[in-house]
């Protein structure tokens, strides 16, 4: 166990994770700086919850907002990239296990991927 193939797979995974997190962090940082510039020093009220539900999988308004340089949309894009990173990791594992002809773990990683995609795209 813990063969060469496994170690290589884990290394590629971890590099992919780092790249995804770095990209997400840069996007969030850019959005955050813009946010501080656009907000004119007015702090939102975080003391009371009044979040408006918008499905995570609704991308069009995010892209629209990013084109308008709306800081919150840019931060949201960064957070979407961040959430996508571990999902990509699991998708990558499905293929790696398939390449190793490990049927049980193709199924196991497909189950995890299904749960992740369900939670993201659920109505």
């Amino acid at each position: 166990m813990a063969s060469e193939a496994d170690l290589n797979m884990e290394l590629s995974i971890s590099r992919m994770l780092r790249a995804g997190v770095s990209l997400a962090a840069i996007v969030v940082f850019v959005g955050w700086v813009l946010y501080l510039l656009q907000a004119h020093g007015v702090k939102p009220d975080y003391r009371h919850f009044h979040g408006i539900p918008i499905p995570a999988s609704q991308f069009a308004p995010v892209f629209h907002g990013v084109r308008q340089l709306d800081s919150r949309s840019i931060i949201r894009l960064g957070i979407l990239l961040l959430i996508a990173t571990p999902i990509m990791r699991v998708a990558f594992c499905v293929f790696s296990f398939a390449a190793q002809k490990d049927r049980i773990y193709v199924v196991v990683s497909l189950i995890v991927l299904t749960v992740l995609l369900y939670s993201f795209f659920r109505p």
């Binding site: 969030v28 946010y35 939102p44 009220d45 995570a56 699991v90 773990y105 995890v112």
Partner: protein, 297 residues
Amino acid sequence: MAQGIVCEADINTWRSEKLDMGLIEFTAAVLLSSVVAGLLGALTGLGGGVVIVPALALLFHVDIRYAIGASLVSVIATSSGAAVSYVREGFSNVRIGMFLEVATTLGALVGAYLTTRISTHAIGIVFGIVLLFSALSSFRQKQGDAPRRQDALAERLKLSGDYPTASGRETYTAQHVPAGFGIMFVAGTLSGLLGIGSGAVKVLAMDQAMKLPFKVSTTTSNFMIGVTAAASAGIYLGRGYIAPGLAAPVMLGVLAGSLAGARMLVKMRVPVLRLVFAVVIAALGVEMIYSGATGRL
């Protein structure tokens, strides 16, 4: 700003009798707290979430749903960002991690669902109990090598491996797989309910129940945290729990703090810090339970 799609709070200046901070002061204080939370979380292995949620809720009087949302984002970032160094050391086990992620992701769905069903007071109390448990667990002795029995289920699922020790590579096989799986489901539920990585519970499942070596447990746990958190993050985002102006400094601060902490960890031994931190965590736990029970959360 009008086309801003994101469900953040109304632009109302927030006035409190105790604190009256403008955006820049508030953001700077949140950023600083997040860096400290990330640093302590990495040095002690408990993760930044257990510090930043009580800090936001108790110190900054942020609604616990916004605190949980911001924390969960930082949890994904730190788990995924730290994975490279752990993998390179050769401790984490991708099959054990993936198998147990079935339990943690399903648990995370349940946890994220529960946040709308139970009151913020109850969430505060549960959070406090988990903090007390985490504080206790950091005192726990790392267990020695348990006798390795053959385990049919572990065999079938290839839940075994080897890891480097001072005396060459040692092999291990998971024991009590159903118990470990069950505890992992609870860990996932707590993660989805409280916006934390719940690393302490994950390590409990692997090191205590499944009798895996401590190093394998902690590194595999870290590897799993990002995937577990991703299962509830989409739900949180959809509900408007993730306020961009708050989540950004928390994510970036905790990430920076934990990367610095991981680097320091290589160079120094931290028993004293661990003790201090455990006491702080326990105090936060008591405060969360008290605040939850008296309806101040």
